[in-house]
């Protein structure tokens, strides 16, 4: 799933990989790929993660992981960093989710009464990146679908998500709702439909696997 998501990154893009699963995407980007990775704490041009012994104490991504620079890296402050996000210079962000609705609404910052970490930079990434992709487990720890008709949790942004990568499937958010694109090897369409708490459009013919 993470490897599959990495294939959606195109040459020339500036990309922000959110905390959690999305961060792992970096390991699947080809070395000769022309891409600029951004992190909202103030870096453009992120190189591979660093082990603790080799880490620069002043060089982290927004998730707190120690990263390395590449040739052409720049550092900047939070105001400039989000100028980049809101100003239309961020081509793609990959984010985690608590819930995604069939309208593309995203909830990933607050579970009232249970866990309220805060949105961090998530609202701006979700609302202003040119393309928003969600990477998440298809269901939560209790087995409930994270893909829903309407989000019951407080929103991060409305109508922002274009595509969802889960451990079960690749699903597009279309004007008509969720549409199945690809399926994890070994699963059936019915498995995905059952795990999805909203209508799921299934294309005719064989569905690609990943």
């Amino acid at each position: 799933m993470v490897a599959r998501a990495a294939r959606d990154i195109q040459s020339g893009m500036t990309v922000n990989l959110g905390i959690g699963l999305p961060t792992q995407v970096i390991e699947h980007i080809a070395a000769d790929m022309q891409v600029c990775l951004h992190s909202e704490n103030g870096i453009a041009g992120i190189g591979p993660a660093q082990p603790y012994d080799a880490a620069d104490r002043n060089l982290i991504d927004a998730g707190g992981a120690y990263v390395s620079p590449v040739a052409g890296t720049s550092y900047f402050d939070s105001a400039v960093s989000f100028a980049l996000v809101r100003g239309g210079r961020l081509d793609l962000t990959m984010l985690g989710a608590f819930q995604v609705s069939m309208h593309g609404d995203l909830a990933n910052w607050k579970i009232p009464g249970l866990f309220t970490p805060g949105a961090g930079g998530g609202m701006e990434l979700a609302q202003k990146a040119k393309q928003v992709i969600v990477l998440t487990t298809h269901t939560d720890r209790k087995g409930r679908s994270k893909l829903v008709q309407e989000c019951t949790l407080p929103l991060t942004a409305r109508g922002c998500v274009a595509r969802i990568f889960t451990d079960m499937a690749v699903i597009d958010v279309t004007p008509k709702g969720f549409a199945l694109c690809e399926i994890a090897a070994g699963l059936t369409t019915d498995d995905v439909i059952k795990a999805t708490d909203a209508p799921l459009a299934v294309p005719r013919g064989k569905i690609p696997t990943f």
Partner: protein, 230 residues
């Protein structure tokens, strides 16, 4: 003409911070967090503080000491997910927490530093963070008024400084420091090294000296500044 010398001791630097003050503190995680200034504030014991900071650090680090010591009445922040104490205190009502979108927090602080009354944005307009905020129509689109957010004091961490208060930050340690270093009535910077005037290249200075009131050179970097092995 010579430029004024603003270097002072740690104790004098924070001595004017009194109970009830609003204090903004730089840093995003470890980089850029002024751990020594925070420790001095813990030792001083100043209470009923409003703290403005991107995050609440992690357990046993930085702002967490202020929380543990009961010094913080209110926290304006973007993310406290790495500090269970902050979440507990918020849930128990022991500390008021105001969440702000991260870039909007930076812009509100910057607006105060830039002498603006506020900014107009639609970030969070469909969320509960947008509820109750004043709306203004600009070019036919509904925008929210996000008021400038200043403070009585700003605590800043710089990699290098000079005695006039010119500051340079290292790597991702810039984060909220440059905006906060413009936005408080009194701006207090700790620096890993204070170089003689003229040793910082004028082109590479992130925060110009006129914004800064006090400079403290750190005698040593405590363990909190080091790489965190999780």
């Amino acid at each position: 003409m010579r430029l004024p010398d603003k270097t002072t001791t740690m104790r004098d630097a924070i001595g004017e911070i009194t109970d009830g003050a609003t204090v903004m503190i730089g840093g995003f995680g470890v980089p850029g967090t002024p751990f020594c200034l925070i420790d001095a504030l813990v030792q001083q014991g100043t209470k009923d503080l409003t703290i403005i900071k991107n995050d609440a650090n992690e357990s046993g680090m930085g702002v967490d000491h202020l929380l543990k010591n009961g010094q913080v009445a209110r926290l304006i922040t973007t993310h406290i997910g790495l500090n269970p104490r902050a979440i507990e205190m918020m849930n128990a009502g022991d500390m008021a927490v105001e969440f702000c979108a991260q870039g909007i927090l930076a812009e509100r602080i910057r607006a105060a530093g830039a002498g603006l009354a506020g900014i107009l944005t639609d970030i969070g307009i469909d969320t509960e963070l947008g509820e109750g905020k004043q709306r203004v129509s600009v070019g036919g689109h509904s925008q929210m008024v996000e008021a400038a957010l200043g403070a009585d004091f700003a605590l800043i961490h710089a990699g290098q400084a000079d005695p006039f208060g010119n500051l340079c930050y290292a790597g991702t340690a810039q984060n909220f420091n440059p905006a906060m270093a413009m936005a408080a009535n009194t701006v207090i910077a700790e620096a890993e090294v204070v170089r003689p005037l003229g040793q910082l290249a004028p082109n590479t200075i992130h925060t110009p000296g006129p914004f800064v009131d006090r400079v403290v050179e750190l005698t040593e970097l405590t363990e909190e500044y080091a790489v965190v092995r999780r």
